[in-house]
Each structure stands twice: as structure tokens, then as C-alpha cells.
Amino acid sequence: MRYLRSKRGPYAVPAVVVLAIAAGTVAPSVTGASSPPSLPSVTPAQLVSEVLSAKAPQLSGSLDWTANLGLPDLGALQGAVGGGAPNAFNPLTLLNGTYQVDVWLAGNQAEHISLSPAPGQEVDLVRNGDQAWFWDSSTMKVTHLTGLSGGQAAPSQPTTVPMTPQQLADRLLSHLGQSTSVVVPSTVYVGGQATYELLLTPKSAPGTTIDHIEVDVAADAPLQGVPLQVAVYAKGQAAPALELGFTRVQPGAPPAGELTFSVPPGATEVNHSVSLTRPATPAQSSTGTGSGPSTLGSGWEAVRTGTAPVLASPQYQTQLSAVTTVVQVGSQQGRLFTSELLNVLILPGGHYYAGFVTPQALEAAATAAGA
């Protein structure tokens, strides 16, 4: 008991507790939670053909969606996008942070996606056959869509050029190969399932913001060929800018109760009938003045350009200026929206240039296009 007589001795105990907690937190990430699964090696073409021939999966599970885009505060856009009640679900919130998404998938027949965008709020999307429901708990509102093309009634379209998934994969990869290096360097466990990691890296594309893309494809039946995780890495970032991956997978048909939705008492229901038959002629742009978008460049450095009069309309200028910075492009003053991946340059008149390229590449494209 001598240590009790010293004035400092007992403080070793809380110090040890802190160290133990720190060690317990850090250790799993240092030693690696588990060794990678040992799987027979496959070529990228084999893996892609597995993806193409995979059936729509039947499973219940949870995913983590992480967006780390370095976005400006999008709160200013709340009014423009959220609309209605202040607590109503605003999809823009999903562009920042980590969210757990629960899914129940029943092949082509039905699916249910559920997530909590804020504490005490849940939004659900349930599709079953030709109808779907969207539920927002904070507004107690159900949007009921009917007349969707039923997944079960759609047989695989007979293609004019019969191609096996293998042939399709070969063609896809030979096309992709010009701009992208595609390799299968490793295996990894995703949500407890053994997966192959498909790594896509842009080749000689200094202008792009994308460093590489990882797609983790399940190796074993019954989920063989189903991508279980996708991560997009921006240049100069260690953590993915966007990541969607399973944390828990339970193969097999999900409970039927999760695949339908009955409007609860007290909720308001809004019905929409959707007709998926496209009009013979493309609908005229409602604005009339907007020119159709086109693409400049190709591959990873492609830049979409066009005119969207809404970007020049006075009523959205305050919101726009809150999320963009002013840049000088040639003789014009433009506005630049930046993130880790997507950048958008907006010039007077609503001309926009957007792409997964650096702002410099956007400005160069705009200058070259004669802006």
C-alpha cells in the first residue's frame, strides 16, 4: 500500500485506463482486423463478366454511405431544394457525412431502402412490382407512385447482337483500357463476404480530380458478381471522397413485411401515376432558350457544357453566391463551385462547364470553347 501514500501514485490508474482505451481503439486498425480472404486469382475480364452476368441479388443488409467532398456549407440551398416544412428531408444533407442505409432487396421484384438523415427522422423508399412509396417521418407524408414498369414482367431483352457477358466484358475493357488501367490487385472482406477488389485508375489524365476507384465484387455464391462496395478517391486524399459499402450482408429473400408499405394513420398520402412510355418526340425544353448539353474532351477529363437559364435567374443568385467563389475567366467573371470531385464553372448567362476535373481544366475548356 506504499503507493497510496505517495501523492501521485494513484493517478497512474486513470492514466493506465486512458492508455488502455487508446490502445484498444488503435490496435485493430494497426494490426488489421482480419487477413484478406484467399481466393483463386482472376483477370479483370473474368471479374467484369461475373458482374455483368450476376443476377439481381436477394439479401437483407446495411450499408454505410460516406461523403467527404469538402463541400461548402449547402445550408443556403435548403430553401431552394428542401421546400415545404423546415424538417422535411433534404437530399443535400447526404452529400456530407456518414449515414447508415438499410436495404432489403428481392431481386427485380422489390426493394426497400431506409435511412435516418437526422436523429428522430427516417426516410424510406419501398418498391414492390409496379408501385412504390416514399415515406418521410418528419412530415408524415407518403408519396405513392403507381404504374412503374413491373420488374417481374420485364424479361431480358433479346439483343440483336447476341453477346455473352464474357464478350461484353472484353469489349467494355478494351474500350476502357485506352483511358484506364484496370487491375484486380487484392481481395478484401466487405460486410463479412469475400470480395475481389477491382481497381480503376485513370491513365495520363492530369486534369481529372479522381485518383482511383475501387469496386469490391463478391466472389462466392449466392452473391457472386454483385458489387458490395464502391469507393471513389480524390487526388491527394487518403480517405475516399465517396464510399458506399455493405457493413452487414445476409443473403436470402428478405421478410415480406419489409417489401410493402401501408399508409399509417395520421399520414398524408400523395398519389402519382407514372407513365413510363416515352413520347415519340423528345419534349421541348420548358425554358426554350437553354441549349442542349454537350461534352468536351473524352475519358476522365470530359467536361459537360451547356446553358441553364436557371443559373442566371436573379432569384437564385444569393443562394448561388453562398456556395460558389468568384473567378475571372478571360474577360468574364464566372462563379466556381468546387468540391473534391465535381467542379462546376458558371459563366454569365447560365453557361456552365462541369466535370470531374480541376478548376484549371474547366477554365481551360471554357477558354478553348470561346467563352
Binding site: 485506463v17 416544412a85 435516418s116 436523429p119 428522430g120 424510406d124 408524415m140
Partner: protein, 266 residues
């Protein structure tokens, strides 16, 4: 000793006053919604727009409203008073004359504080349930997932939520107890403890220190709302409880270290 301590604490007038305030808040809330009408769907604090739909949500709205301030305040008062109060009254010396020992005294203080955390959250939910059942419908409960569960199931979930909220306060209680061992002035210990809540709450709202957020004891305080989803989501609740356990371990040990080395003069 623990029973004696619990009886002493809960018979104090100020402790009863704290509990009366915690009862009053959800009751007042329920009457306000009953008389003036609650906010429309999708407006106001979480669950308040549903308070008039079902008695269960009256109780949960009570938890949401009392969780950021009233409950932590009462915990801070109790924790700050625990040791410093005895010291300032000059009774700590006499308590320590007994052979029970300093560590056991601290353990008894901590156990009664934990009991108070649970009781504080429980009285809020009980009062909310009672007021809600009297003033509002008490039929099947619509969960956040849009499904409907029986009323008794809803009552069970709100009681479960009160247990989670009570346990969520353990970390704060442990810190308050540690601060209380540092001083002979109970009001200072209370102020510091409530200050910790405010600082943690502010840090939780600053996205530049997002890496800190999983370590802030207030970060998962709202996790109890996941219990009203269908199926119930336990992920954040477990994270919360684990985090509170960590705080209790660190600050409980620190309080012990301070207690056994302290010069007790008063």
C-alpha cells in the same frame, strides 16, 4: 451504506425540487400542445409535432426537450454536490472517520448518482406518458419507419428510451464526481460540470473538429430516437453506452485517485 446514502440524497428538498422540475417540463409541454396546438408536421423540435398524435410521443418529446439542458443540469447539480457538498458542510471528515474508507464512500456516491440519472430520465418519461395518455389519444403508435405498433409496445419502447437516456448521463456524472472531489465549493463543481456539457455541445456542432465528435460524451445523446424506428436500431445506442463506459472508467479512476490522496481538512 449505499442504502443510507440513497435515502439521504433522495430525501433532500433540493433533490426533490429537481425531480419536480423534471416532471413539470413534459406536463407543461403536453398542456401547451393541448391548448395551443402543436407545431405542424415537419416543424419544431423532433417529436413535438407528433406529441398530440399519441401519448407515447408526448413522453418522447419530453425527453427530447429535457435532454439538452434540464436533465444534464440536474445531474451536474447532484454530481457537483456529491463530494464538495460534504466538504463544504464539514461532514466529509466525519464520513471518513468511519472504517468504510474513501474508495467505498466514493463508490456509494457514484452508485447513488447513477441511480439519480436513471430516475431523472424515468420521471420525465413517466410524467410525459401520464400527461399524454390523459390529454391525447393512446392507440397504436406510428413508428419513424411508418409502421404501426401496439400502444403497449410503444410504452415499452419509451421506457427503454428512458433507460438509454439515463445511462447516457453516466459519463457526465463521472466527470461531475471527479470535479467534485477537486474542490470544497459545490457551486464551482456544478458550474464546471454544466460548462463541460456546453463545451461538448458546441464542439459537436463544429464540423471542423469532426474527428473529435465520436469521442464527445454528448455526441450520441440523441441515439435513443433510433428505438422508435422499426426494426429498432441499436448501433448508435451501443456506441453511446460504450462511450459512457469509457468516461466512467477514466473519470471514476481519476476521482478515486484524487479521493485517496486528498487532504481532508474540513
Amino acid at each position: 451504506m449505499w442504502l443510507v446514502e440513497a435515502r439521504t440524497v433522495f430525501s433532500r428538498a433540493r433533490v426533490r425540487a429537481l425531480l419536480v422540475v423534471l416532471v413539470a417540463v413534459p406536463v407543461f409541454l403536453a398542456f401547451a400542445v393541448y391548448l395551443a396546438g402543436g407545431p405542424h408536421n415537419g416543424q419544431g423540435p423532433t417529436f413535438l409535432d407528433r406529441a398530440s398524435h399519441n401519448g407515447v410521443f408526448t413522453a418522447l418529446a419530453g425527453l427530447v426537450v429535457t435532454m439538452p439542458f434540464f436533465i444534464p443540469l440536474s445531474i451536474a447539480v447532484m454530481a457537483g454536490d456529491a463530494v464538495a457538498g460534504e466538504a463544504s458542510m464539514g461532514t466529509l471528515r466525519y464520513l471518513l472517520i468511519r472504517p468504510a474508507g474513501r474508495a467505498r464512500l466514493l463508490a456509494a456516491k457514484g452508485a447513488v448518482l447513477a441511480l439519480f440519472c436513471m430516475v431523472a430520465a424515468l420521471v420525465v418519461v413517466m410524467a410525459g406518458l401520464l400527461a399524454g395518455v390523459v390529454l391525447f389519444p393512446h392507440g397504436p403508435v406510428v413508428t419513424l419507419s411508418g409502421t404501426t405498433i401496439p400502444f403497449l409496445d410503444g410504452v415499452g419502447r419509451s421506457l427503454l428510451a428512458s433507460l438509454v437516456v439515463g445511462a447516457s448521463m453516466f459519463g457526465l456524472g463521472a466527470m461531475g464526481l471527479f470535479v467534485s472531489t477537486l474542490t470544497d465549493v459545490p457551486i464551482a463543481a456544478m458550474a464546471v460540470t454544466i460548462g463541460l456539457v456546453i463545451v461538448s455541445g458546441i464542439l459537436d456542432g463544429v464540423s471542423q473538429v469532426a474527428f473529435l465528435h465520436p469521442w464527445l460524451f454528448t455526441n450520441y445523446w440523441t441515439s435513443f430516437t433510433d428505438l422508435v424506428r422499426d426494426p429498432m436500431h441499436w448501433g448508435l445506442v451501443w456506441k453511446d453506452l460504450l462511450l459512457q463506459l469509457g468516461y466512467v472508467a477514466v473519470f471514476g479512476a481519476a476521482a478515486w485517485a484524487r479521493m485517496v490522496t486528498r487532504d481532508v481538512q474540513a
